[in-house]
């Protein structure tokens, strides 16, 4: 076992380097001195849906943005599909898909142009790209809106369009940041089917949400994040054990118990600065 794997094993418990498609270790980030991430660590296996669960402002979106290179981390290690994002900041981007929290996509392009634009940015060759766009437009019932400007689409349609753009290059990892907000139940059902299909093909999904019932039904494992830290990670059974709660406990109860405990820990634990220095030393 290599030094890095040993370190990750210590951090994550049952970490298997042959299965992991993503690991984030000891991630720190502050905005103008205000901490957003306080040493967050997590990993994700191949074909797994990992739920990133936490209240507003817990650091879910910041984590995803750092992984995607949209934000710079202060400290920590991020490895996506074997690429260390510090050393190889671009290669892994051809292999991932991303559905952001808010639908800010170029409104001046039409539906087809938007997908074409996204495909070209990702260096997908034209002969591959065009049939894929047509297939995705049909799959997401957007074929009729092919020539419509993005600005004229409804919120649900825009979200579908972003979703289809994330699938253009058949991603190995899909990052979904609150993906179902604004989509009708029928659309949500459709998207969930597509995600399940992707998982069967070996795609891992990192799903950031604060919808507890969605995480409970949809995720293989859940990482509960609070105040920029991973409070607990595991499947529902493991989390129940961790929270010392009974069999019929819901994720909501687990979530509330664990986040409350973490709050107490933060208030009574060692100073953040000391801990940060110590973990920084370890990661080096």
């Amino acid at each position: 076992m290599t030094g890095a794997n040993k370190m990750l094993n210590n951090a994550f418990g049952r970490y298997d380097p042959t299965q992991a498609t993503l690991y984030v270790y000891n991630l720190w980030k502050a905005y103008d001195g205000i901490p957003a991430l306080n040493g967050l660590s997590l990993y994700m296996n191949k074909g797994e849906v990992l739920g990133l669960l936490g209240p507003n402002g817990s650091g879910k979106t910041t984590t995803i943005k750092i992984i995607l290179g949209l934000l710079k981390k202060d400290e920590g290690i991020v490895n996506v599909l074997g690429y260390n994002i510090d050393k190889e900041p671009y290669e892994y981007k051809k292999l991932i898909g991303y559905v952001p929290e808010s639908s800010t996509i170029p409104e001046y392009l039409n539906t087809y142009e938007f997908l074409y634009y996204m495909g070209r940015i990702r260096d997908i060759s034209e002969p591959v790209l065009r049939p894929r766009i047509d297939a995705l437009l049909t799959r997401f019932n957007l074929a009729e809106k092919k020539k419509a400007l993005v600005t004229s689409l409804s919120k649900g349609m825009k979200q579908k369009l972003i979703f289809s753009s994330a699938l253009l290059q058949e991603p190995k990892i899909l990052f979904l940041d609150e993906p179902f907000i604004g989509i009708d139940p029928e659309g949500q059902f459709e998207l969930k089917l597509i995600i399940k299909e992707l998982m069967q093909n070996g795609c891992s999904v990192l799903l950031s949400t604060h919808l507890l019932d969605l995480a409970e039904r949809f995720c293989d494992r859940v990482a509960i994040v609070n105040k920029g830290r991973n409070v607990a990670t595991g499947n529902l059974k493991e989390l129940k054990e961790l929270a010392h709660l009974g069999k019929d406990t819901t994720l909501e109860q687990i979530f509330l118990t664990l986040t409350k405990e973490s709050k107490v820990q933060v208030e009574t634990g060692p100073s953040e600065q000391k801990k940060r220095k110590f973990l920084g030393f370890l990661s080096r």
Binding site: L68, G69, L70, L71, K72, P89, Y90, E91, K93, K94, Y98, P100, T104, I105, P106, E107, Y108, L109, N110, Y112, E113, Y116, Y117, M118, R120, I121, R122, D123, E126, L149, T151
Partner: protein, 506 residues
């Protein structure tokens, strides 16, 4: 009566932005001071300058421009209400005519505020010195604007309730009648002064010209009176309809709101308006080269937001003096062609960069998240700017050539170099602004200063040769020096843009 409340509410909402930012107040101050130059003209004596005004300004088609634009706007747009009005006011027992009156009053206030503000000091001076001619002149502008706003709003409502094409035809007739003196003069040369009476603007001009002779004032007064009756009748008719369910709901567009969010909002609004007139060029047939792909994407954006039309319109306005002076056979006029091209080369990159930032700021995450390299995007953006400016400069040169004769080769060369430096700096400035997330007017002013400073060496090197009448060898050396400066500046700014893009957080 809710008219006063609706009107005041809109005013407060519009001018609320003044309280928010110091830069807005500063901008307003600069704007209002810009007309100070008129005061010496007013003080210098009524008769001579009065005649100058009569000859130059009143005969100049600029007076026809605003009414024509207002009326034309009523063809392409529909009556609008502000979003908060729809949500909070229309659910009460307010009557449609009250909203209509308040809206018209508000529109008139805003137009007067925006157009009269630069002349506010001149206006105060005119009142204090009791300069009758100028008071009459301001009154005429006020009457023309009032008539235009009343007609614009009335037509917008009537379009909803009558056959659209019939109302539009009527608007076209009114526009033609408004501009009749200009059109007939342009077509047939010197036309009889009675032609002026067809148009309300012409009638008011006649009134001003014939102010010394009261007997000649009857016809212009009668003509204007007929136009006023016509406008008020239309206005009254329009106010009887319940237009509220058909009105377009728009976000409140505050005057002089310099906030960046507002600029972005305004661009979104422009997209919905201008896209209809866009030339059908689509991104899906983009070139293979990634640099050209990005350039084309930016070009499509420029077309759909209508930026290109804005630039062309500016070019037309800049060419107007050339049309006017060009006909007067002034000697050495070719010397004046350079400043116009130079203006384009310095200020158009600023305008386009600012538009690029406001239009693309929300989409940088796409490039950051998915692009396998940023170099192509930066070079592509630079190429896009060049692809806009070079043809525009060529057009301006052709205009100058058609109006004044030979084009100076120096002017083309140095302007091209200016455009290269300013476009590369534009890319850097855009990325720097977004990285810092600083969109305040101060930063914009600072950017403008740098655009001008970076242009100075090239402008200097061009003028040194002419000023000291240096031999051609020295001129060649200066040209080579400008070329080297351009290459170094462009390379440095593009390189820095790439580095900065990599560090940018979105």
């Amino acid at each position: 009566m809710a008219i006063k409340e609706i009107y005041l509410m809109r005013l407060i909402a519009s001018f609320g932005s003044f309280r928010r930012s110091k830069s807005t107040i500063l901008l307003l101050l600069i704007y209002s001071l810009s007309g100070l130059g008129l005061i010496p003209l007013i003080l210098s004596g009524e008769e001579s300058t009065g005649n100058l005004f009569t000859q130059m300004i009143l005969q100049y088609p600029i007076l026809y421009l605003f009414p024509t634009l207002f009326l034309f706007y009523s063809i392409i747009s529909q009556i609008s209400v502000v979003d908060y009005e729809r949500d909070f006011i229309f659910s009460t027992s307010v009557k449609p005519y009250e909203v209509f009156y308040a809206k018209t009053l508000y529109d008139l206030t805003m137009i007067l505020f925006i157009l009269f503000l630069p002349f506010i000091f001149a206006f105060v001076a005119v009142i204090l010195l009791l300069k009758v001619f100028y008071i009459a002149f301001f009154a005429i502008v006020f009457l023309i604007l009032s008539l235009s706003v009343i007609l614009e709003n009335s037509f917008k409502v009537l379009t909803i309730f009558y056959k659209k094409n019939l109302v539009r035809l009527l608007i076209v007739f009114v526009i033609l009648a408004f501009c009749a003196p200009v059109i007939l003069n342009f077509a047939f040369g010197d036309t009889p002064r009675a032609i002026n009476l067809i148009s309300p603007i012409g009638a008011l001009q006649e009134l001003l010209i014939s102010r010394a002779n009261p007997s000649e004032m009857i016809a212009p007064v009668a003509s204007f009176f007929i136009w006023a009756i016509f406008s008020i009748t239309l206005f009254y008719k329009a106010s009887r309809f319940n237009f509220l369910p058909f009105a377009q709901v728009v976000p409140l567009r505050a005057a002089f709101d310099t906030s960046f969010r507002y600029q972005v909002q305004k661009q979104q609004y422009l997209l919905s308006r201008m896209n209809r007139f866009s030339i059908p060029i689509y991104l899906e047939n983009a070139p293979r080269s990634k640099v050209l792909f990005y350039a084309k994407e930016s070009f499509v954006r420029t077309l759909r937001f209508g930026d290109i039309y804005g630039l062309i319109l500016t070019l037309v306005f800049l060419s107007l003096p050339y049309f006017l002076i060009g006909n007067s056979n002034l000697e050495d006029f070719t010397q004046t062609s350079f400043p116009m091209v130079m203006f384009l080369a310095v200020f158009f990159p600023i305008i386009l960069t600012q538009l690029w930032i406001t239009e693309f700021v929300d989409y940088f995450w796409i490039i950051k998240a998915f692009s396998s390299e940023v170099r192509s995007y930066i070079i592509g953006t630079f190429t896009w700017q060049m692809s806009i400016f070079l043809p525009l400069m060529l057009i301006s040169q052709v205009i100058v050539y058609l109006l004044t004769g030979p084009i100076s080769f120096d002017s083309i060369l140095f302007s091209t170099l200016l455009v290269i430096v300013n476009s590369s700096f534009g890319v850097y400035y855009g990325i720097w602004t977004i990285k810092r997330k600083s969109f305040t007017p101060y930063i914009f002013m600072m950017g403008m200063l740098f655009f001008v400073l970076l242009s100075t060496p090239i402008i200097m090197m061009n003028f040194i040769g002419k000023l000291f009448m240096l031999p051609s060898l020295y001129n060649l050396a200066l040209t080579i020096a400008s070329l080297i400066y351009t290459i170094i500046a462009a390379s440095v700014f593009l390189f820095l843009s790439i580095r900065m893009f990599e560090l940018m957080e979105v």
